[in-house]
Symmetry: C2
Subunit: 125 residues, 2 copies
């Protein structure tokens, strides 16, 4: 029995970070290009750009800086704010995975798929 979670963050009820958007930001960082990051995720440039701008508005932070380019598109890079945000997200996600493992052991520490009876005192297994 394995616990799985889908993680996202909201601020004032608006989405500000999700696994999908983190993936987009990572691709922009790694490829240095919003166009290439969009293509890698099967998104149009316009749609990827819109997602970045939406995140920036919801967070109130600049995330991606793009140089104006020619026909092939310019280069894009993450702002220091976006780098810090990714680092925070990664730390959060890593600790969440550890917490899930601990919770699984505490609550479902018995045989896989076999819920424990409360009387077994098996929490320490």
């Amino acid at each position: 029995m394995e616990a799985h979670v889908k993680l996202w963050f909201e601020h004032d009820g608006r989405l500000v970070l999700s696994e999908y958007r983190v993936q987009l930001l990572r691709l922009i960082r790694d490829r240095g290009s919003l166009a290439q990051a969009a293509a890698a995720m099967g998104l149009s440039y316009r749609r990827a750009w819109g997602k970045v701008r939406e995140l920036e508005q919801n967070l109130g932070l600049p995330l991606v800086h793009s140089d104006v380019g020619g026909a092939g598109g310019g280069k894009s890079r993450l702002t220091p704010e976006a780098e810090a945000l990714l680092k925070q997200y990664d730390g959060f996600a890593r600790d969440l995975e550890a917490a899930l493992r601990a919770l699984r052991q505490r609550h479902f520490g018995g045989l896989p798929g076999q819920p424990e009876q409360e009387s077994t005192g098996a929490r320490s297994r």
Copy 2:
């Protein structure tokens, strides 16, 4: 900035518990009727029954016992295994919420929407 998660459990790669299915089991318990639980969730009886049977197969545990009924349908009740499973799920979900609050404080302890710089040492706030 609030962390949100969608939680589910798998066993051997197969879904064995999710918020949606927990809700279905709770409704069966509270209403004593699979037909009424299905209606409350906007599911056909057949579909709700299928979901319960799928969970039972994936878990290898009996979850719902139904008395054969007449035209109006019989009564349904959770097995002790299902009651224990719901209790485990609730405990897990409760502890997960607490873990999320702690992680949010640790990783995003600054002003809402304002990622901290690493140098602020603000983890204890």
